[in-house]
Every structure is written in C-alpha cells, then in structure tokens.
Amino acid sequence: MIAHRFKYSCPRSAEEAAAELAQMEGEETAIISGGTWVVPEMSHHLRRPKLVIDLKLAGLAGVSAEADAVVIGPATTYTQLAHSKHTPNFLKKVVAGITGGSQIRNRGTIGGSACYANPASDIPGALVTMKASLHLRAHSSTRIVEAADFFLDANVTLLEPDEILESISIPSTNDENLFSYAKFKTAQGSWPIVTIGCIASEDGVARRVIVGGAGAIPFAVDLDGQESEDEVLQRVHAAMRQPWSDVFATADTRRHIAGVMTQRAVREIAAAKNGEKS
C-alpha cells in the first residue's frame, strides 16, 4: 500500500506537464501514464515522489500516420497499439507478445516502458529496431533524440528530470520489409531474458539485428549478410558491451542465448526471403 502522501496532478497537455516539472526543482517527481511500474514501486515503498504527474488526460495517446513517419503518443497503451491500423507491422508483432494479462495491456504504455528502460522490457529494443526518434519536451525547450542514443544504462535514459517524452516517431520507410521479432523467456509470464528484433533491408537481408534484454541496454549487431553462423555469434558477442544479469540468467548465459537467437533471426529472414522468391 502507498503509505506516504504526495501531490497528484493530471495536466491537460505536455506543455502543462513540463511546466509543472520545471517547478519541482529537484524534488522527486514521478511521471505516470499507465502506472504499471511506478505504482507498484510506490506500494512497496521503494519510491516516494513528492509529485505524481499522470499523463492520462494530456492528450498523449494515439497513433497517427504522417507523410514519412508514424507518430505514436507515449501514453498509447499496448491494447491501443494492437488495434490501431497505423501501428507498424513490426511493432504489432512486439505488442502481440506482451504478457501480464489484459490489465497490463490496457494500462501499460509504450512511452512508459521506454522511459523506465527496464533491460528486460520489449519496448526499448523495439524502438531501436524501428529507428524511432523520441521527442522530448522541457518547459522552455524541445529536442529530438534517436532511440539508439536514448538508452544509457539499465533504467537510465537521456531524459532530464525536467523533461517528458512527448511523442515517438517511427520512419515508415521500412514498414513493408521483411522482419523478425522473437523473445526468449523462462515462462509465459516472465520477463524476457533476450529479445531479438530485425527489420531487413529492402533487398531482404538481415543487416541490423537489435538485441534487447541481454545487456543493460539494447544493442545493434551490424551484418552484411555474408557471415557464417560462427561469425554472427562473434559479432553478437563483440557488440554486447554493457552486460546485464539478474535472478534468471547470468551475463554469460544472456550472451550465449543472444547469439543463438540472432542466428535464428538471420535464418528466419533468409528463409522468408527464399520463401517469397519461390
């Protein structure tokens, strides 16, 4: 149960939220969208924010198609992503595998998961795979960062204390390409140990595989499509620079599984390409 008292605010826009944040001057603030991370932490007394800013009425949910990008509001839930006709195909596949039941899918949001930056979540790796850009807003400024640069460490992002994530844009150029998404976990309801995302190049080659879960942050494995299976493994092992371990698997185990899963993703894309040709 949440034991401490805190101020709760429900701003009507991202600007309003940023303005409130600017006034906190270093006092602990929590921004929630679905609250699936922050509320349990508050219940367990692990976090005692003075202010909770709830983005549910800030107009930040929804998926829209623009000329060359799909723009997703950070407060868009997994369920909304699953149902929107504009959601990129790759992201639809990611969302279809989100577990935790309808309660989590109806509450958990893409932006919340990105900002929480849990190494074992699907979304950080998915955003890097899709080459998403994140639009961040502070009271008097905005900036755009690439997903690949956004994640710094486990639960650490580029987001400054006075910033909120205002929108996510995903370039639509690759949406028709072959793709693969797989995750490895112990049980149906458990966090992934490794996620593997790959959107193939236009000629159907797995040139960039994003490994999530295995390390503290998602990392890219760049390939040219000519590597042997062993070389793929070596590329994965070399690319993992921030190891991560938890109660489910050590860093070594994660590295090993990441290699195996990357090989499988490359094979899957190749098989799909060959399947199309025949």
Binding site: P40, A187, Q188, G189, W191, V247, T253, H256
Partner: protein
C-alpha cells in the same frame, strides 16, 4: 433378516463428481475471506521488519512513530516480551534430540533474518500504519551472517544462536542393514548429487489475521487464514498467557494454504497482543513480499547406490543437508525428518543409510509446504532410478519394475518402519505407459533427434505417506465429526477438519447425504471454529477425508440406524427392505410405500414416547475416526509408523528441450493416481492437477533466491519468483487406479499432498531423457535455462565411481 447396506448400495453422491456445494457463492464473490472481516472499531497493524540478516538490536526508538497520524499504539520487542511468552514450536527439534531456541512475536535482543518482526504499530488505517513503520528508528549492530547451508555447517561460520555450539539443528539417521558391507560386494556403484532449490507455496490469498480482545471476559476471538484452528488455539493460549478456553479461533474461507497457513508465525500472537494492549480490534493482512519470505524445501543430496547388472538396487546411502533458515515456530524443519523417513519410497532396498541434517542459516524460516519433505525423497529416488538405468543401459521402466514392491507383498514394511497399506505399482506403471502411448513417442523422439530436436519422456513413481500422527505433538492422526439432523430433516455437519478450498467440505456432505438419505442441498457443514466444532486438527497431510470424512461417515451411520428403525415401524416393513435416498425412506419391495425423511425426523423429536420409543433422541452423533495402522510403540528394531495410508502415483512427462538455449517445454503430462476409494473423482483430480502444476513449477522455475551479499530475498514478487501459468503447462491427462486402504473405514487414502515430487521428478527425468544424446547430468534444480544451459555447455557425464 437384516443386512448392512454398504455405502455403494445406497450411493447417490459418493463416487460422483458432485459440484462444490457452495460453488456459486465462490463464483459470485460472496465468500467471506479474512480481509472481508470488518469489526466495528477495527484498527490495523504495521510491522517493522529487520533489514539485516544478522544484527544485534541496540535500541528501538518509537517516539516519532507514536505521534504519527492515526497511530494509537506502538510496541517494541522488549515490551512485547513482558506480555507474551515464546511461541511453542509446532514440532520442537529438542524433543527429537536436536537444538531449539525461543521464538518470539517480536525480536528482543537480536535479529537472525531479513524480515524478522522487530516492532509493531497500531493505527487507524493500514496506510497510517505503514507510514508509521517507516518512522521507527532501530539501531542495529551488524553481525556477520551466513545464508548458505553448507557454509553454515563449517566450524568458523557465524553463530546464529549464541547458546548453540554450532548451527546444526539436528541430524537424524535412518539406517537399515549394512550398506558398507553391500557396497564392498557390489557389482555396480554409482555416486552423484542433486541440489534442490529453496522454493515455497504461494496461495492466491496471503495470510491475514483479525484479533479481538474482550477486556470484560479477558478473552480473545481470533480470526485467521489458518489451517489448524484448535492447535493454534493451544499455541495462542500459551503465548498469550491465557487459558485455552479463553481463546476462540475462527478460520473463515481460506484461499489456498498448502502448509503456509500452518501456525507458529509471529504475527498470530502479535495481532492478539496488539489488540489487548491497544484496546482495539486489530487486523493484519500480509503483503505478497512477506508471503515470499517463508521458505521451504532446500536440500543438498549426495547419494551412493549399489546395484546388480539386472538393475536390482542393493544398497542406498544418502547423507543430505537441508538449510531451513532461521528456526521458526511453524513446522517447517519437520519436512526434513519426513524426507529421510520416506526413503526408499516404494522400492525394496534392504540396506539404507540415510542421514538427514538440518542446519540453520540467516535466511527467513521455513514453513510446511505441500509434500512435506516427501516430494524431495520422490525426486531423489526417481533420479537414482534413471541414473541406474543409464549406467546399465537399461530401460528406466524396467529398473522400476525390478525394484518396486509387488502387489501381493502388501502390507509392506519399509526399511524406515513405514507400513504401506495397499497398491499395485506395476499395474499403475503399465497404465501410464499405455496412457502416454510410449512406442509412438519413442519413434517420434528418434525422428526429431535427426533434426537436433530433443524430445524426452520421463517417468516417476511417487509414494505419499498421508494422514500422519507425530507423537507428542498436535500433529494428530485422528479427527472428529458431528452429524445432526433437526426435526425438519435438515442436516448440519460439524467437523474438526478444515478446508483450504479443495472440496473436502462437499465430499463430507456427499458421504453424509448418502448415509441419511437426503438431498445434499439439505445439508450444511461448519468447519474452522473452535467454539462450534468438535476438537480437530484441521488440514494437513492429506488427512481431511481419511479422518474427518470417515468420522462423519460413522456419525451419519448412527443417524441412519435410527432413521431405519422409525421407517421400519412407519412403513411396516423390515429395515433391510428400506432404501434411504433423496429425502425419502422407501420400501424396496413395494416402492409405493414411502415416507419423507423429514417426517421420520419429526417423529423422533415429537413421538419419543410413542412411535419412537427406544430410539434415543436427538438425531445427533459425534464420532472420532482413528485410522488403523499407526504404530507408535517401537517395534523390535525401534521403528514406529506414523502414517496409516499411502497413496501412490505414476507420473509421465513429455518435454522438448531446446539444447541451444536450455529452454524446456512440457508438451504432455499424465498421471495414474491411486488414492484408494474415491468419494469425488473431480476433487481428487483437482488436487492432483494443482500439485502437478506445483511440481512442474518446482522442476522448471520456482526458486527463492537470497542475495549472498546482503542476505535479502531477491525473488520477492511474482515477476522474480516465477510460477507456471496455465499456458506453461499442458492439459493434464489423468487415470484413476483404486486399491482401497484396508486400514480406513471407507478405504480412502490421502489425496492432497501427492503430485509435487512426482511431477518434479517426471519432468526432471524427461529433460535428462531428452538430452541423453548429449550425456548431460543436471545437478542443480530448477531446470531453468540458466541451469540447463550451464549443464549442456560444461557437458560432462554422470560421476562414475
């Protein structure tokens, strides 16, 4: 001519899968659980817990908390000790020749595990109580700690209890024959080890208590999510220094128990003393992170077996160590005793040398957990069988057949002194083979191996001694039921056994309704109230139907006898000509002659000096059922038998292992289960299905992990303590086999505890069968990707002597 009507002849309900009599109320959310209980003026308890695994308490400063919002009362361990005595151990190791220590509701001088209660708050709301907990300043002097069991046995390990000379609680030998002599002559010898992880039970409802102290009567009413109301009353009265008859314990609907809700928990007397000292009814509801603290099952086995080339096992040695954490008052450590006693399960092994060593550590204490130690024995024995088979290149089924007790050998006295009642283990094995379609699976396995896919089939035999009685403790092997029929012909059953949700209440009503010939909807049952029900021990050890069910059967038979006398007079026919069924007494020879049961009942109460002359009113009977076969007087070898019945099962698992990642998928799971006479097949299946899911969880994922650096529990929520969900287990396939126990009135055996160890063993054997081409032996449970992959990568064959 009179004849006894056997239960089957008049069976209307017994043997059928009658639905839960109050199932609709469960579905509608109308059942009253502990957290639904609200007493006028009720306040809430908050508990300050130790953040250190081992520390001396220098001071407890409650001043800030005592003036916090909503707080009406604060309590330190030192103050609590003035008002309470240590909590009596459910099973005191000292009584078995081991060491003991006082366990108090709040720690006084030092703490010995993270989460140990140190101080308590009573506040207007739960929120206020939790907020005030954070304001309590406890000054600790940090002491070195040990969380690993084997490290704790080392002479230089931090001493957990200063009055002990080491951290060993007890070592219990179970010896039969001369193993060393057999080993010296053996054709084959195999040695290996298996580490069983610490894991627990997680009922959907955590623990919770509401205590109401009545100052005028100087008495307590204690509502608790508990399994054993009467024995708990004894514990509370001793801890709280009041007479046993000044405590009333009421167990409302319980949302699963599995041993976790057996008593000895500090919060039980704590809630009571908080009510007395604060003058308010006090509620405490456990948080899941607190539920997760309670441990069980962690054991390190090192075994050696000798066997012939034909697969006959000639001797078994297993000296194992169980890390039970800090010594708590609940019956946790006793599981280790049972692990030792249950060897060598249903196998005929003449020479056994089993030594069970129980060691304390700075992990949180154990409580009982379904299987009560016998699950560990099943796992180790079944691994041994498969290892012997692998060593000889034999079919593991054949090794089982060679060593299992044969059906003509019952009753069979085991090396440990247990007297196994009945069974047909070989027939159960055959049924399991048939059920799973073994030849087709073996062919599929062969095919898949060509593609480097690893399918495995694993069998496990499981023997579950149930309904035990441990002498000198309130772990009783008998129980009591009352059956009352009122003048309207409605029936009330009161029984000392309780239900954690499995359906023994409905099953007891099935037995009673058949005996007295009424519709089950005309009967109700009251359990879990020490003021209303006869004395009883509640539920554990698969005992509820064996004891409470048979007691109700005897009591109902008494009522039946009276009903038959009156019916015979009113219908003017012989008693043997009367069928009692569905609310009517009817002449079998002339079915037009019938009278309502309610009219017979009314006659007993209203015509006691006329039609009912000689039939003693009222229609009430209280009977005790003491099963046969419990033998507490030591035999020639000094052995006793604490169990009357022995259910058995054969489990078969089909798994596929991803050898590149260590992931295990359970594709099929089947069980042939023999629980003796079955009262309600669906409930028996439900018990086995639940236990099987637990066993699959135990085999593949459940693991309570303490951080070696801090002594904190890392797996304190369901995201880190993994349990199988519906999608992680296959549809369960089940077959019943019935060999009635000759030692119980209805032939029933226990049906609550079996399944955990058998399922765990079958899955473990299946994983090894799958990985047989790689020659992998996994020595660390559970078989999660980490442990399986590690074993594959560091590939090595079984240790050969």
């Amino acid at each position: 001519m009179t004849q006894t009507i056997a239960p089957t002849q008049s069976a209307n309900y017994v043997g059928t899968s009658e639905r839960k009599h109050n199932g609709e109320k469960f579905l509608r959310g109308e059942m009253v659980y502990i957290d639904d209980i609200r007493i006028p003026g009720m306040h809430f308890a908050g508990i300050v817990r130790s953040p250190h695994p081992h520390a001396r308490i220098k001071s407890v400063d409650l001043s800030k908390a005592s003036v916090a919002e909503g707080v009406i009362f604060v309590l330190s361990g030192a103050e609590a000790a003035k008002h309470t005595d240590p909590i009596p151990h459910f099973i005191d190791p000292e009584a078995f020749g081991g060491k003991t220590t006082d366990v108090r509701c709040l720690a006084v001088d030092k703490v010995v595990y993270v989460g140990e209660p140190v101080a308590a708050i009573v506040a207007r709301t739960r929120q206020d109580a939790e907020a005030a907990v954070e304001l309590v300043d406890v000054e600790y002097e940090i002491l070195p700690f040990v969380i690993d069991g084997e490290e704790s046995l080392q002479p230089d390990a931090p001493r957990i209890y200063e009055h002990w000379d080491d951290n060993k609680i007890i070592s219990i030998p179970f010896i039969s024959g001369d193993t060393e002599a057999v080993f010296a002559q053996a054709e084959h010898i195999l040695e290996d080890e298996l580490k069983i992880q610490r894991y627990s039970t997680q009922p959907i409802e955590p623990r919770g208590y509401v205590a109401v102290y009545d100052s005028r009567e100087s008495s307590y009413t204690f509502y608790g999510a508990c399994q054993n109301p009467h024995p708990l009353r004894w514990v509370l009265s001793h801890t709280l220094r009041v007479s046993e008859n000044d405590v009333r314990v009421i167990a409302p609907t319980v949302g699963g128990a599995f041993g976790l809700k057996m008593h000895g928990h500090p919060e039980e007397p704590l809630t009571c003393i908080l009510s007395k000292l604060s003058g308010k009814p006090v509620k405490w509801i456990e948080d899941r992170t607190e539920t997760m603290l309670v441990g069980a099952r962690e054991q390190m086995h090192r075994f050696k077996v000798s066997f012939t080339s034909a697969g006959k096992i000639t001797a078994l040695k297993d000296h194992f160590v169980a890390n039970v954490g800090a010594l708590g008052a609940p019956p946790g450590w006793g599981m280790v005793f049972l692990s030792g006693l249950a060897f060598p399960t249903g196998y005929k092994i003449a020479a056994t040398d089993v030594l069970a060593t129980v060691v304390a550590s700075n992990k949180s204490p154990w409580n009982a957990a379904r299987g009560y130690g016998k699950e560990a024995t099943a796992l180790v024995m079944e691994r041994i069988i498969d290892l012997v088979a692998r060593d000889l290149g034999m079919d593991p089924l054949e090794v089982r057949r060679v060593n299992l007790i044969e059906s003509h050998e019952f009753p069979y006295k085991t090396a440990g002194g247990l007297n196994i009642d009945s069974g047909d283990y070989h027939a159960a094995l055959d049924k399991a083979v048939e059920m799973i379609g073994l030849p087709a699976l073996r062919a599929e396995q062969e095919e898949l191996r060509k593609d480097n896919r690893y399918l495995g089939i694993g069998f496990a035999f499981e023997l579950t001694p149930e309904s035990g009685d441990i002498p000198g403790t309130l772990v009783g092997g008998f129980d009591t039921s009352t059956v009352k029929m009122d003048p309207s012909g409605k029936v009330t059953v009161l029984t000392g056994v309780t239900t954690p949700g499995g359906g023994n209440d409905t099953s007891i009503l099935q037995i009673v309704s058949d005996q007295v010939g009424i519709e089950i909807s005309d009967a109700r049952i009251i359990q879990g109230d020490t003021l209303l029900t006869p004395y009883g021990f509640g539920n554990y050890s698969g005992r509820s139907m064996v004891t409470g069910g048979n007691a109700a059967y005897l009591a109902a038979k008494d009522i039946r006898a009276k009903l038959l006398i009156i019916a015979s007079r009113l219908l003017e026919t012989d008693e043997s000509d009367i069928d009692l069924r569905a609310g009517w007494a009817r002449s079998l020879s002339n079915p037009d002659k019938a009278i309502k049961i309610s009219e017979i009942a009314y006659t007993v109460y209203t015509l006691a000096f006329a039609t009912a002359t000689g039939v003693e009113p009222p229609l009430e009977s209280t009977r005790v059922y003491q099963p046969e076969n419990i033998q507490h007087t030591p035999d020639a070898e000094g052995k006793i038998n604490i169990y009357p019945t022995y259910s058995n099962a054969v489990h078969v698992a089909v798994v596929e292992v991803d050898a590149d990642t260590g992931h295990v998928k359970v594709r099929r799971f089947g069980t042939v289960h023999d629980a003796g006479t079955i009262i309600n097949p669906r409930f028996v299946e439900g018990q086995m299905e639940g236990a099987t899911a637990m066993g699959i969880g135990a085999a593949l994922m459940e693991h309570s992990i303490h951080d070696p650096a801090t002594g904190h529990l890392s797996t304190n929520r369901f995201k880190t303590y993994l349990m199988p969900r519906a999608s992680d287990v296959p549809m369960f396939e089940s077959v019943h086999q019935v060999t009635p126990s000759p030692y119980t009135a209805l032939g029933t055996k226990g049906a609550g505890e079996a399944g955990v160890g058998g399922a765990q063993a079958a899955v473990t054997n299946a994983v090894h069968d799958a990985l047989a081409p790689l020659g992998v032996t996994i020595r660390q449970m559970p078989l999660n990707p980490q442990n399986v992959l590690h074993a594959i990568i560091t590939r090595e064959t079984g240790k050969q002597a």
